[in-house]
Amino acid sequence: MLQIISLVLENKPGALMRVTGLLSQRGYNIESLTVARTLDPELSRMTIVVDVDSLQRAQVIKQMNKLINVLQANDLSEGPTVIRELVLLRIRTAQESRTAVLKEAEIFGGRVVDSGVEGFAIEVTGDPEKLGEFVDVMAAYGEVEVTRSGALAIALDSKKLRLQPPVSTVGQGHPTPLHK
């Protein structure tokens, strides 16, 4: 089943590779992955949708949390969450279908971002499943080309980011917390 994971990670070289590498290494298939900076430019937030056996869901989160650059990994598959995705779709359509295409786009809350003799470019945001339907509908009117952003998700209940305090280095194997 699909699992939605929200990650906060340090914006460091190789951090993305660590996350994707871990997923492939442990045999989990990535359905989609989005990443961008957060309000704090040193941190990124990543939303990953993976196809994983439901028994393995906790294991995926634990493995993510083991990555040094990952500050927090949460399973958003359960609990109150908003999930959105963006679709950019270009459609080539015959003159007589143009009005119908615009009507359909309107039903899905779409917005025309470009218009030409041959057709339109339309952007729609929404629930990933709904977007799938939108694409299917459009395909009925002509040749489409589609690019999707992948799912973005945010939990509606706040999860406090728990960070580890600095430690002093007093030699091999015996680090002591600076603040107790």
């Binding site: 990670l9 340090e10 070289p13 190789g14 590779m17 660590r18 590498g21 871990l22 290494q25 906790a58 294991q59 634990k62 493995q63 949390n65 083991k66 990555l67 040094i68 650059n69 990952v70 500050l71 927090q72 960070l163 580890q164 305090p165 600095p166 430690v167 002093s168 280095t169 030699g171 091999q172 194997g173 680090p175 600076l178």
Partner: protein
């Protein structure tokens, strides 16, 4: 206070500050500046003959002491040669730091001479890795690397350093703190879960302690002994946990698993409570998972949260430092003893009787022949000379299993072997690392004739450093474990397992300037081993053993522990003939 120095010198300063007295490596083009610093630095650099063995030696050093082992290689092929050792350390949770050189930062990505994407290649082979392209990050990263390698669940950390960073001049300021906001080290176990664990232990009728490498890595052997004494439960230790409990401890059964003892496997299968301490329910231990410990509730203590519940969902999960958890758990058991319960006491007595009966019924088989040396005979003789006090670094294969079965260890960190990855060629370089770490100790390197030939170049390292390692080759002329599987599961079609033309051990050792000998008669064995041990320098003893012996007991792949095969199939009379 800051001092102007090169990146190469800064690296050496950081290593010294981490207490590194000895490192294993192989120089090359981009690490030249660092080797120039090492020329007159206090850190002892041991030149190995292949980078893979630098990683194995660093592991041997770390496994023998618990300190972080250090290895070093140049860019490109130097770095890629370290990979097996890194994965090996990852699988067995061994703290090592690998330093690799990288081409000048401006050349990265240009397919420069000896360039390889070490950072990318080693990502899945390490607990964490770094690429240092700026001098002002170097000191901080080196200390972070040691901290990550040594704390929590230990593991390998690689630091890839570009040549320009080695060469650049900068102000060195000793690092006083490190901040890794996303690195969580779980120390204290959950008090409520520890209380539940104590309750389960007191209620159980057939408890079994299943202790592993976590006890060794967590330096919790003394705490384990306390715990065993208080619970008076029987205990098994995994391949990685040998020595966690002394081999002659009255509560100790032996090793469970694919080649574990009858008693250990039967106990696993019949226990009503498994107290799993620093173990990961490896497939070589559990056999067919659906049939593993079917009657047992499980208490699982581990410092790595991802191990708890990974394979088997425990009734009581405890994530924490094993040493601290055991102290708390033992204290709780002592302070709140169980109500006397006649039925439970009787059940516990019956459990012990059962275990003793299993131990008596099928101890490990140690056949002795009058004409040939049996491999088990060899291990028993090594055990006699070691008395449980020598370091035994083993390679991988049949000899490893027989040594694990038949050699005792009075303490942890004496048994050094490649458990998780099963890397052939590990034994000899690991023995080198261990001997450098513990120069006063008697160190055996037990190898098969296959693995030994993978590490022959290191005879030169042993000779040039005068390391008094006793190299014992259990020579059956075959890749014995693969041959065993071909015999048992592939109709004895022996494919690519015969090792012909093994070199003359005496001449081989003599070529390196030390003593060697081949023995093949059982009556020569004891004296030959004694001679090897008495020799002040290195010794290569090639022991020709019966070629077609199989390791038993054996749980066939996919079998349950209590379906183990105890010995070769007996000839069956065919009816009517």
């Amino acid at each position: 206070m800051s001092t102007l120095m090169s990146g190469a010198r800064m690296l050496a300063e950081c290593l010294a500050r981490e207490g590194v007295d000895c490192m294993f490596g192989y120089p090359g083009g981009v690490t030249l500046p660092f080797y120039d610093v090492l020329y007159d630095h206090q850190i002892r650099h041991v030149l190995v003959r292949h980078e893979e063995n630098a990683a194995f030696a660093a592991e041997g050093y770390a496994r023998a002491t618990g300190k972080v082992g250090v290895c070093c290689a140049t860019s490109g092929p130097g770095a890629t040669n370290l990979i097996t050792g890194l994965v090996d350390a990852m699988m067995d949770s061994v703290p090592i730091v690998a330093i690799t050189g990288q081409v000048t930062s401006k050349l990265i990505g240009s397919d420069a001479f000896q360039e390889a994407d070490t950072f990318g290649i080693t990502r899945p082979c390490t607990k964490h890795n770094y690429l240092v392209k700026k001098l002002d990050e170097l000191a901080q990263i080196i200390h972070e690397a040691f901290y990550i390698a040594a704390t929590g669940r230990p593991g390998p950390v690689l630091v890839d350093i570009t040549k320009d960073v080695f060469q650049a001049q900068g102000h060195y300021q000793p690092v006083t703190s490190i901040h890794l906001p996303g690195y969580k080290v779980f120390t204290e176990g959950h008090t409520g879960q520890i209380r539940r664990a104590a309750q389960l232990i007191q209620e159980s009728e057939r408890p079994l302690i299943y202790a592993g490498g976590g006890i060794v890595a967590g330096n919790a052997s003394a705490e384990l002994r306390e715990f065993v004494q208080v619970t008076d439960a029987p205990a098994v230790t995994t391949l990685m946990g040998l020595g966690a409990l002394p081999g002659n401890h009255p509560n100790y059964i032996s090793m469970p698993g694919m080649h574990g003892s009858y008693a250990a496997n039967m106990a696993m299968s019949d226990a009503d409570l498994l107290i799993a301490l620093g173990v990961r329910f490896d497939d070589r231990v559990t056999g067919r998972l659906a049939a593993f410990a079917p009657h047992a509730k499980v208490i699982h203590v581990d410092i790595d949260p991802a191990e708890v519940g990974k394979i088997r969902t425990p009734e009581v999960p405890i994530v924490g430092d094993i040493k601290r958890v055991l102290v708390k758990l033992t204290k709780l058991l002592v302070e709140t003893p169980a109500e006397p319960d006649a039925k439970r006491s009787a059940a516990r007595r019956a459990w012990w009787q059962q275990i003793r009966a299993w131990k008596d019924a099928h101890p490990y088989d140690t056949p002795v022949s009058e004409t040939e040396i049996k491999p088990q005979h060899l291990m028993a003789e090594i055990d006699r000379l070691s008395g449980g006090d020598a370091i035994i670094a083993s390679d991988v294969g049949q000899h490893q299993m027989w040594a694990a079965q038949l050699c005792r260890f009075n303490q942890p960190r004496l048994w050094i072997n490649s458990g998780g990855l099963g890397s052939m060629g590990f034994g000899l370089p690991a023995a080198i690392g261990a001997q450098f770490a513990r120069p006063e100790m008697l160190v055996f390197a037990i190898c098969g004739d296959g693995g030994f030939q993978m590490s022959i170049p290191e005879l030169s390292t042993i000779a040039s450093n005068g390391l008094p390692i006793k190299i014992i080759v259990m020579n059956n002329g075959h890749l014995g474990m693969v041959r065993q599987w071909q015999t048992l599961f592939y109709n004895n079609r022996l494919s690519a397992v015969e090792l012909e033309a093994f070199p003359d051990a005496e001449k081989l050792a003599a070529a390196y300037g030390f003593k060697g000998r081949t023995v093949e008669k059982p009556w020569e064995l004891a004296a030959a081993l004694e001679e090897a041990v008495k020799e002040p320098g290195p010794y290569l003893l090639n022991v020709k053993v019966t070629p077609f012996e199989c390791v038993y007991p054996m749980v066939p792949a996919g079998g349950a522990l209590n379906e183990m095969v105890l010995g070769p199939p007996q000839p069956v009379a065919v009816p009517g003939t």
